[in-house]
Point group: C2
Chain length 197, copies 2
DNA sequence: TTACACATACCGACTGGTTAGTCTGTCCCG
DNA sequence: CGGGACAGACTAACCAGTCGGTATGTGTAA
């Protein structure tokens, strides 16, 4: 029997990633020692450095996972066979829901970018830009079609919306009065209302 | 002659605070060593610990300064003798301008909250809430007066706007195409448009 | 079927480097 | 001459990453 799943059934690399995600979100990247991570995952340093090249690598994995997920979802909504208003609203609301459902990831994402090595940072920024562009294209499409106001540059509108998404990890509490879908509907509403011609 | 102003004319405590602000924004709190700060300020550790109790204290001072400034400005705009739409627009635009003009402060503010000691963190949160409440009151006033839509709870609207303010330090570049006032006008526009009944 | 080689999956003591904060002492001013 | 304003060496703690070692499974050849 390989030790890869010793104890519970989850493979060691995933246990490490999960522990790191939680600890990075709770205490920040720099305040979390590798020792804490391996203890939380029930292994030792040997295991961590067997699967990951560095502590930095672990952080990078978190980013890769989030980016992949969000890009996939955006593409699905953006390419749907629906009027552009609905596609934008659905995409805008969805990113809110998935962000709330992975608040730890979101916290890390926006708070720890600068802890990545310059090289990995660049890579993440590039992927992030792709996401941004796709979202912007959606808005520009609506503007050209005349269903969205052109008063504000599409770029700024995207940053406006993602600012609020970013901010979620600061104020949203699962035990608060609003569920993820409710918040998402409200925020998508605000976006669409701001875009009314 | 006291050494307090040795070299240039700026007093040592302020030189330290300025150096710390810049370095915290550039590299993050944890990645900035006390040694770097004192070197940048042209003094030694003795001087720093003569004026500040800890590295944490230095960070706290940055927060206190930002909060004081923003609260003052908000109060001025919110209590002006103008219709509520104008007061909200002015306040919303002003916070964008002052944030852009102090991007370093903003960067630190939103990225380093969790580095403060629990006690100081609580204090900052409390002051921040006061600010938030004042802003919310403005929106609720407009909603009651019927000039703003009541479709979205005022709380959420505030978070929506401050999310975008928060986000500024991530994407705004002084050498970009838009000046501070232009960005502020656009963002205030988006807020007011979203609030149209 | 057994025996041996080899790889994978880890363990945990150790190292080299860094850091916040302390403390003793010096210098100048009133 | 007393005290505020520093200087700078020192300490105690911590931490990322390394490395030699061990255990377990797998392929293969006699």
């Amino acid at each position: 029997m390989p030790r890869t799943t010793d104890g519970d059934g989850t493979p060691v690399p995933q246990r490490l990633l999960a522990a790191a995600t939680r600890l990075f979100a709770e205490q920040g990247y720099d305040r979390t020692s590798v020792q804490e991570i391996v203890e939380a995952a029930g292994v030792t340093k040997g295991a961590l450095y067997h699967y990951f090249g560095s502590k930095d690598d672990l952080l990078h994995e978190v980013y890769a996972r989030v980016l992949r997920l969000q890009q996939e979802r955006l593409d699905t909504f953006a390419n749907a066979d629906e009027p552009v208003e609905k596609r934008l609203r659905d995409a805008a609301a969805d990113v809110v829901v998935t962000t709330i459902e992975n608040l730890d990831d979101a916290m890390i994402f926006f708070r720890s970018m600068h802890h990545l090595s310059p090289e990995k940072n660049k890579q993440v920024r590039a992927e992030r830009r792709r996401y941004h562009e796709r979202f912007r294209a959606l808005i520009e499409e609506g503007q050209k079609a005349g269903v969205f106001s052109t008063a504000t540059p599409a770029d700024l509108v995207v940053d406006y919306h993602f600012g609020s998404v970013h901010h979620l990890s600061t104020w949203y509490r699962p035990d608060g009065p609003l569920g993820p879908q409710e918040v998402a509907d409200h925020l998508a509403d605000l976006l669409l209302r701001a875009l009314r011609p």
